[in-house]
């Protein structure tokens, strides 16, 4: 595959003129740099996914199983039976178009099939043709169409150009959850063995080793020890965290990206420093070593299987409750699915902060607290000594992760923290934050490298808002609470708005946190000299 070389000035010329032909008669062109590679057969074998076969997206023939049509229609029927919401979302759309221009992929590409209404229509048309009387009789007049191998390709191409961010759903007068439509389509594609490498790989890793990256227990430990060396250099303080410790009060679970990818590693250093300063009775786990859940991008059943290890480990270690790190879709899964799948977690206690005594009522069912809620509560009760001036070289804005904002309603806590650890904070425009936040453009397993044009196009609306605050206020740091954000915004911001860095919120906390017995800080968490506090000669 040729290297992606398009420059921002080329990509910004977006043609919003729709094709002259009707959408059903407009063939789908599978274009390089817009799609991800197919998954490796061995990864699908690991989790026993069906219909594993060799295929390549750019090939004419995808080697679909002989009875592919029956598999899809039976699969669709099963899903319709299982989820009333699916049937409802297939039936009630009036095609008003309120969602049409709300999608970051449509804004960035101009492709009408990226309008959420039309993307859903790709599936709806087949639903109508096979599951509604009007569609069966009136066919195309009723918006129905035949299921053909080209339809399967079109589904694959466009349902992997949706990040299930649900921004369009905020604007839908009927409350149709477009993410759920994409989830159904992806379940059907998974039944045909048409999985992405970037999803299949992490899923298999997580199933076998506990985390997406496939980090072994000793690798996790060595990674954390590496951070501890850096913390010692910055603060002079020796930290000794524990792993898999039975009897700890709290189990800490975070995305594995925090342990092995920049700038997430700085966020992980932030957790370590904060917990040490509090003297928190907590443990890391090398088994429940993943907060994220790429299974969620394949099927409900796979997501459930991968999620089960968190409670299993909490039970084995005998902790009281679970604290979770900065992650996006992890929290959608926890907030909206976990209790139904695995609950009730009656072997755990309702989470109470051992430092402030605050009872986290919102976590009563799952017994899992988001670290931003935990830290905001600490600050509210004046339990942390903070030196904001250590972040004075940063002009910060905050990107709401789609899943923590729209998926769990956590809007104020991260902002409260940032305002208490930084002197310079500016919001991006109102229509691009909180419930209306723009996706990073690379979520739901689309953060590969071969689909870079898609990622940059999808990342444009967010980057554009960053550009606005950069020009207006001189913003040079984009904070967030999501591991995918940390990995992918770094690329899209570098492409569209060079000169802006990306960080997790707890990196900012760590910079400002005044620790007992620390030496005078001359370095920030990235081991760069702290401006104005450089070591004296």
């Amino acid at each position: 595959m040729a290297k992606f070389t398009a420059k921002p000035k080329d990509l910004i010329n977006i043609d919003y003129t729709p094709p002259k032909t009707e959408w059903m008669d407009t063939p789908t062109e599978i274009r390089e740099h817009m799609f991800c590679h197919a998954t490796k057969a061995k990864d699908l074998e690991t989790v026993e996914f069906p219909n594993i076969h060799e295929w390549r997206p750019q090939d004419e023939d995808w080697n679909l199983p002989a009875n592919w049509e029956q598999i899809v229609l039976q699969g669709m029927q099963d899903l319709l039976k299982k989820y009333r919401s699916f049937q409802l979302f297939m039936d009630i759309c009036v095609r008003c178009g309120a969602c049409a221009d709300k999608c970051h992929f449509f804004i960035g590409s101009g492709d009408p099939k990226n309008m959420p209404v039309l993307r859903a229509e790709l599936l709806r048309s087949v639903y109508r043709g096979n599951f509604t009387l009007a569609g069966k009789i009136l066919k195309k007049i009723a918006g129905a169409r035949e299921l053909t191998p080209s339809v399967i390709k079109e589904w694959w191409y466009y349902f992997y150009q949706c990040t299930e961010c649900r921004r369009c759903s905020v604007f839908c007068p009927y409350g149709i959850d477009t993410a759920e439509i994409t989830m159904m389509a992806r379940e059907l594609l998974n039944l045909l063995g048409l999985q992405l490498g970037w999803i299949g790989g992490p899923v298999a890793n997580c199933y076998m080793k506990g985390n997406h990256l496939g980090l072994e227990p000793h690798t996790i430990k060595s990674s954390v020890e590496f951070f501890l060396d850096d913390i010692k250099e910055i603060t002079g303080i020796t930290i000794e965290p524990t792993f898999n410790r039975k009897g700890a009060e709290i189990l800490f679970v975070t995305p594995s990206g925090d342990l092995f990818a920049n700038p997430g590693t700085y966020t992980a250093m932030g957790y370590l420093m904060l917990f040490h300063e509090l003297g928190l009775d907590y443990t890391w786990s090398t088994y429940a070593s993943e907060g994220g859940n790429f299974g969620f991008f394949t099927s409900n059943e796979m997501a459930k299987r991968l999620n089960s290890k968190i409670y299993a480990e909490a039970k084995r270690l005998g902790v009281k409750w679970i604290l979770g790190g900065e992650c996006g879709h992890m929290w959608r899964v926890i907030h909206q699915y976990m209790d139904t799948w695995q609950g009730p977690a009656d072997f755990l206690q309702e989470p109470v902060s051992p430092i402030t005594g605050t009872k986290f009522e919102n976590a009563k069912a799952t017994k899992m607290v988001h670290i931003a809620e935990f830290t905001a509560d600490l600050i509210k009760h004046n339990k942390l000594k903070l030196d904001k001036s250590r972040n004075d070289h940063l002009v910060v804005t905050y990107h709401d992760s789609c899943n923590t904002s729209r998926g769990m309603g956590m809007l104020e806590e991260p902002r409260y923290i940032i305002n208490n650890v930084c002197n310079h904070f500016h919001e991006m425009p109102e229509d691009t934050i909180k419930e209306k936040t723009f996706c990073c453009g690379s979520g739901t397993g689309l953060n590969a490298s071969e689909n870079m044009e898609l990622r940059m196009r999808g990342g444009l609306p967010r980057a554009n808002a960053v550009k606005y605050v950069k020009e207006k206020h001189g913003v040079n740091m984009l904070a967030n609470v999501c591991a995918i954000d940390r990995a992918t915004l770094s690329a899209s911001v570098d492409y569209w708005v060079p000169g802006t860095a990306v960080c997790g919120t707890h990196e900012l906390v760590a910079n400002a946190l005044v620790m007992k017995g620390e030496k005078e800080r001359t370095l920030d968490i990235r081991l760069e000299p702290l401006p104005g506090k450089e070591a004296s000669e």
Binding site: M1, H37, K40, E54, R56, G197, W198, G201, P202, N205, N211, H212, L213, G214, L215, E216, H218, T219, S222, S223, F226, P255, S256, G257, F260, A261, N262, G264, T265, G292, F294, C327, N447, A448, S449, E450, A483, I484, R486, A487
Partner: protein
């Protein structure tokens, strides 16, 4: 599946040219892959490749860049233990290019 021809054998590689099986690796293959990118492997290149392979042996994953930088600095001195030096050796990025020559797979997930 794509393949590269090496000493008369067909070696399987993925879409981005990474070896499918670590066992297929041989020093000569690294040299050949580098030649394909118009790169002559010097002693300095081999220091990085050997470190990557040792790290992988121990940890079953390619190291983060910052670990690579720190470890190279420890063994070979601070003048080599920096990102600039590594990018001079491997213009496409030490993580991608050097790992490909070393026969290691790409890491996936939230990275």
């Amino acid at each position: 599946m794509a393949t590269v021809d090496f000493e008369g054998k067909q070696i399987e590689v993925d879409e981005d040219g990474y070896l499918v099986s670590l066992d297929d690796w041989a020093p000569g293959l690294a040299t050949q892959l580098a030649k394909g990118d118009d790169l002559e492997l010097t002693e300095a290149h081999w220091e990085v490749i050997n470190f990557l392979r040792d790290y992988y042996q121990k940890y079953q994953i390619a190291p983060m860049i910052k670990i690579l930088v720190k470890e190279i600095a420890k063994v070979m001195g601070p003048e080599k233990g920096n990102t600039k030096y590594l990018y001079e050796l491997y213009p496409d990025g030490p993580a991608k290019q050097a790992c490909r020559y070393a026969g290691l797979p790409k890491p996936t997930g939230c990275v």
